[in-house]
């Protein structure tokens, strides 16, 4: 095509599919997947619950709906106090980890970034180990010390990495990642030292690091929800700007955007989400990488689609992973981190092989 062939007018240009906005169909599909996963997870367990009865029981809680579910009192208690809190918690944790992973990949322009990149995992690990090794007995406290310590450790780890990355003067994404590596290595060293000194805690610490979803009613859910809400709103609002950051800090600046400011806000929100998830579930690996990448392969690379679809997809994925973790070796439970990696990795490889390149 030469410039002289340029069409004179600007008529007959067919309006194409337009920009990468989130469309209804993929979102509906993801939500349907999530609903299906949640329903199966609620029904399956040592006590099988009847699908119709459960649906009727759930519908009965809606305002203005009066149904008789036919669940016994014991079955209703299993549903409301055991199954549902765990499914909701799994969904929240999966959603937060997948969203945070997508956000980190966006602000660092690095497909290998995951929510634990900047020292969140190492910080949480140290916090949890300290709480397990030296913490007072918190059986009588309204909230356990462990999630608090893990949350604080995760936030402190990322904050330290951020402060270190800024102090160098050059506030580039690479500097930040490298300081994250340094902080993580240091915190892990301290954590390992504490763990070795208090070897009787080894088993508990190890179990925590592999990830677990255990609930006592709705307490953990209530702990996560405020942070989940805040960080989800913040990251969803910034998802278009993550697309602008895809051209790099420099070009984003020439388009009128302060890249370091966007990065600070998004990293802050993603860190809150990660810390909240880690506090109640330990270190569940892999979700933050495979869910966003799977979404990318089927729905394209724009963060405007990637963030909301990762949110929903991450929830569905972790609910299913938890279902596997608590059923395959029942009555024993597998660490959920083992399940996400064991099933997630081959699934991801399959997606990589079969999915055609996103348009």
């Amino acid at each position: 095509m030469t410039v002289t062939e340029r069409r004179p007018g600007r008529a007959e240009v067919a309006p194409g599919p337009g920009p990468a906005r989130l469309r209804a169909a993929p979102l509906a599909l993801a939500v349907a997947l999530l609903a299906g996963a949640a329903l199966v997870a609620v029904l399956v367990g040592p006590v099988r619950l009847a699908p119709g009865a459960v649906l009727a029981e759930l519908a009965g809680r809606l305002p203005g709906v009066h149904t008789r579910s036919g669940l016994s009192r014991q079955e209703a208690a299993i549903l409301w106090e055991l199954r549902l809190p765990r499914v909701v918690l799994g969904g929240l944790v999966g959603a937060m980890l997948a969203m945070a992973g997508a956000a980190y990949q966006g602000v660092f322009r690095n497909p290998l970034a995951d929510p634990y990149l900047l020292g969140a995992a190492a910080g949480a690990g140290l916090g949890a180990t300290l709480a397990i090794a030296y913490g007072p007995d918190t059986g009588s406290w309204p909230v356990d010390l462990l999630p608090m310590a893990a949350f604080a450790g995760a936030v402190a780890g990322v904050a330290a990495a951020y402060a270190l990355g800024r102090s160098g003067g050059a506030r580039t994404a690479t500097t930040l990642i490298l300081s994250g590596v340094a902080v993580a290595a240091f915190l892990t060293a301290v954590q390992t030292y504490v763990q070795q000194r208090q070897s009787e805690t080894l088993r508990e610490v190890y179990g925590w690091i592999l990830g677990r979803l255990t609930t006592a009613g709705w307490r953990e859910v209530a702990l996560v929800v405020p942070y989940a809400l805040v960080s989800t709103v913040a990251i969803l609002l910034h998802r278009r700007l993550l697309d602008v950051l895809a051209v790099g800090d420099d070009e984003a600046s020439s388009l009128g955007l302060r890249a370091s400011q966007v990065r600070l806000v998004v990293v802050g929100a993603a860190t809150l989400a990660t810390a909240a998830a880690v506090a109640v579930s330990g270190l569940i690996g892999f979700v933050g990488i495979i869910v966003p990448h799977t979404v990318r392969l089927v729905a394209g690379t724009s963060y405007r689609r990637l963030v909301p679809l990762s949110l929903v997809g991450g929830a569905a994925f972790l609910i299913l992973a938890d279902l596997v973790a608590r059923t395959v070796a029942a009555p024993a439970e597998l660490p959920i981190g083992v399940v996400t990696a064991f099933f997630g990795a081959p699934f991801f490889a399959l997606v990589l092989r079969t999915a055609r390149r996103a348009p």
């Binding site: 700007l241 895809a246 051209v247 790099g248």
Partner: protein, 269 residues
């Protein structure tokens, strides 16, 4: 009207002076060619005007007082096409061009119908309509360069800065891109400042040339005045012949010198 005016502009990068005391006036509607050997400061000058590197001295853009424009406001007045733009994997041409609307879209907002209409118009103008849904990283070099130009045009800035816009293109696509820029400049009444490597093309596609060397303006004026064998030898340390093109203009041809080079290597005072 003056589009861009620099008075006593100096830039240091990592403590090293890169631009020293540059005075430069770019009239509105001008097509200015920025030439000079590698490392002479061409890119830094463009980046300083675009507000991407801190500079001392005064840089006035349009009628706004120097330093008064926010980053967003500056991005509405100056569009920069970098030498090697990032190519985000999988991003469609439409989405890429839409990035040019960033300075108009509210920080946490989303694009309006008007933004989309402008994107469609720019795509059409650059004959990119058929490629609108293609991924940027699947385009050829020439197509990609047009997409990058389209993003800059979507900024609707009166001043267009191009950093070596023909890098990596064959001679035919080099001409096409520069012709296209020239047509756009006339159609949209743009002011165009381009850093150029190819001196012949620089002479053909710029009314005025500014030769940078060692961070200073070494020569400025019409192509015939700046592109002389002596000047090029002195600043590029190159042996060239400057030939008359029978069709008008001049042609700069490198030659292999058999004589010992006679020019001194000293920098101009």
């Amino acid at each position: 009207m003056t589009a861009v005016e620099l008075a006593g502009v100096s830039v240091d990068l990592d403590g090293r002076p890169v631009l020293r005391d540059i005075d430069l006036t770019v009239p509105g509607g001008a097509r200015l060619g920025l030439i000079g050997p590698n490392g002479s400061g061409k890119t830094t000058l463009l980046r300083a005007v675009a507000g991407l590197v801190p500079a001392r001295g005064q840089i006035r853009v349009g009628d706004a007082p120097p330093g008064s424009l926010s980053r967003r406001a500056l991005a509405r007045r100056i569009a920069l096409v970098p030498q090697s733009p990032a190519v985000p994997a999988g991003m469609t041409v439409t989405d890429y061009v839409l990035l040019g609307r960033t300075p108009y879209i509210p920080y946490l907002g989303t694009e309006t119908r008007r933004d989309l209409a402008i994107v469609a118009e720019v795509l059409d103008h650059l004959d990119l309509g058929g490629l609108a849904d293609r991924a940027l990283d699947s385009l050829s070099g020439g197509e990609r360069q047009r997409a990058v130009l389209a993003r800059a045009l979507a900024q609707q800035a009166p001043v267009l800065l191009l950093d070596e816009p023909t890098t990596g293109l064959d001679v035919g696509h080099q001409q096409q891109v520069l012709e296209l820029v020239d047509i756009l400049r006339r159609d949209l009444e743009l002011t165009v400042v381009s850093a150029m490597h190819d001196l012949t093309l620089a002479g053909q596609f710029a009314d005025q040339l500014v030769l940078l060397d060692g961070g200073r303006v070494a020569a400025a004026g019409p192509a015939r005045a700046v592109l002389t064998e002596a000047v090029i030898a002195r600043h590029y340390h190159a042996s060239v012949r400057v030939l008359e093109d029978p069709g008008g203009g001049i042609v700069v041809v490198p030659v292999r010198s058999t004589l010992e080079r006679q020019v001194t290597h000293e920098q101009p005072a």
